[in-house]
């Protein structure tokens, strides 16, 4: 496998990781109004890809999903079936602003990986164009 192929594999791993991140963000946004929902966070880990023929390459993989253990939002709604004596119940600790920012960041990173992928394709075809007249 050439460097081009390895670079394509690395860019694809980046896109896959950002897609996983966006999935977690969408789960958080969908559950904003779910009582007792803890927001999920996703970490990234580097993984060495061996056997590429051009030395080990660091791929990125989505790490384990963790739950944000910060305090749940206390919502005042006495008519809610889960409300306690004071009329409050535990909502979710999802902050929409944070989630939107995270989604935007995932989108930008995805675009960067996509650009790299396209760049590799252009470089390889430009190289082969040298052999054509």
């Amino acid at each position: 496998m050439s460097d081009f192929n390895t670079a394509m594999t690395v860019a694809t791993s980046g896109m896959r990781a950002q897609a996983a991140r966006l999935r977690v963000v969408s789960e958080n946004i969908a559950n904003t109004d779910t009582p007792g929902y803890h927001r999920k966070t996703l970490g990234f880990e580097a993984e060495m890809a061996r056997g590429t023929g051009t030395g080990p390459a660091s791929l990125v993989v989505a790490g384990p999903v963790r739950l944000d253990q910060s305090l749940l939002d206390s919502v005042y709604d006495p008519s809610h079936p889960m409300a306690d004596d004071t009329g409050h119940y535990d909502g979710s600790n999802v902050d929409l602003l944070v989630e939107i920012a995270d989604a935007r960041e995932a989108s930008r990173s995805y675009e960067a990986n996509l650009k790299v992928f396209d760049q590799i394709r252009q470089m390889s075809s430009a190289l082969l164009d040298l052999l054509r007249k």
Binding site: M1, F4, N5, M8, T9, T12, M15, R16, A19, F117, R121, S124, S125, L128, L131, R132
Partner: protein, 94 residues
């Protein structure tokens, strides 16, 4: 004829000099490259199949197809170059 036998003997003597000599190194490298090419094509087809049946990852599909495209482009360019060289030899005045 005397002359005919001399010519034929001379021809028989010089024939081994122009015979093709198989080289062990190049054959192995070429067959390895061909096997690598076939494996790349196979990966692309497998990814396309699993994407069409709805079980594949679109990233894997794009990656496999781009790598297949790169491999096919390389092979086609090389083949064109070889055919061009062959035709150049054929056009050589004898």
């Amino acid at each position: 004829m005397e002359l005919g036998s001399i010519v034929s003997r001379h021809y028989a003597d010089t024939r081994p000099a122009t015979a093709a000599q198989p080289q062990s190194g190049d054959g192995g490298m070429l067959s390895g490259a061909a096997a690598d090419f076939a494996a790349t094509l196979q990966r692309g087809e497998d990814a396309a199949m699993s994407a069409m049946t709805g079980s594949g990852d679109p990233h894997a599909l794009v990656q496999a197809l781009a790598q297949t495209e790169l491999a096919v482009e390389t092979v086609v360019t090389l083949r064109n170059k070889v055919v061009e060289a062959y035709q150049e030899i054929l056009r050589m005045p004898v």
